[in-house]
Symmetry: C2
Subunit: 129 residues, 2 copies
């Protein structure tokens, strides 16, 4: 279901850059927010909770788009488009802890661990410059 990220954009997703994740709200308006993520070679994975707006948005419309800019040269960027294909419960917050380390922290179990989930996004198209 997912395509491979073209090599010229892959470093944007492999490095610990912040992404800007777009989703569509129930009223058909758009939401964009910065997100940590991990690219596992096939899908993009985010830590989130079942209590927040993006989770509700995705229940109605599974479309997701992640734009990542090169922090050293932001005109170089890629947008990965896809959709929510799986929600994996993460009740110990282990994936949050893993991303916290990926983004330079020391690891941390979040206070809302009980509600934590992993959002798994397919990659159906990648464009950029």
């Amino acid at each position: 279901m997912s395509i491979e990220i073209p090599e010229k954009y892959r470093h944007l997703f492999e490095n610990a850059n912040f992404g800007s994740l777009g989703t569509v709200r129930p009223d058909d308006t758009v939401q964009v927010s910065p997100m940590w993520f991990e690219y596992d070679g096939e899908t993009l994975r985010f830590t989130h909770t079942t209590k927040r707006a993006k989770y509700r948005n995705l229940q109605r419309n599974p479309s997701m788009s992640l734009a990542v800019m090169d922090p050293d040269k932001p005109v170089h960027y890629a947008e990965a488009r896809g959709r929510l294909i799986e929600v994996v419960p993460d009740p110990t917050g282990a994936f949050y802890d893993q991303l916290h380390r990926r983004y330079g922290g020391e690891g941390m179990i979040p206070p809302d661990a009980a509600d934590r989930v992993i959002l798994v996004m397919s990659i159906e198209k990648v464009n950029g410059q």
Copy 2:
């Protein structure tokens, strides 16, 4: 129609940061792309052309959302939500030239100046952290 950007977020929009602009495609999927912009104290203004996807998206669904991260500390960010309220023709590319300078360039009239427009976005809500 627009609200003021709260002071704690205003520097994100006043500085020449890249924004991530979300729009909704005609098939109800989401698009996010990096954009130059200018905050004039009331609206957000972007240079674009009438030939490109975002312009077509906005004809059907005027919703726009711009997320801007602090490049030095990306957990500090703001999302401005609003909609397209005006399209101003820019056939000489003057606004592109202005943004090119704002973002550290020497100014430039783009080759597609004839199709250039200024997208004017209202600011209806701002949140962030």
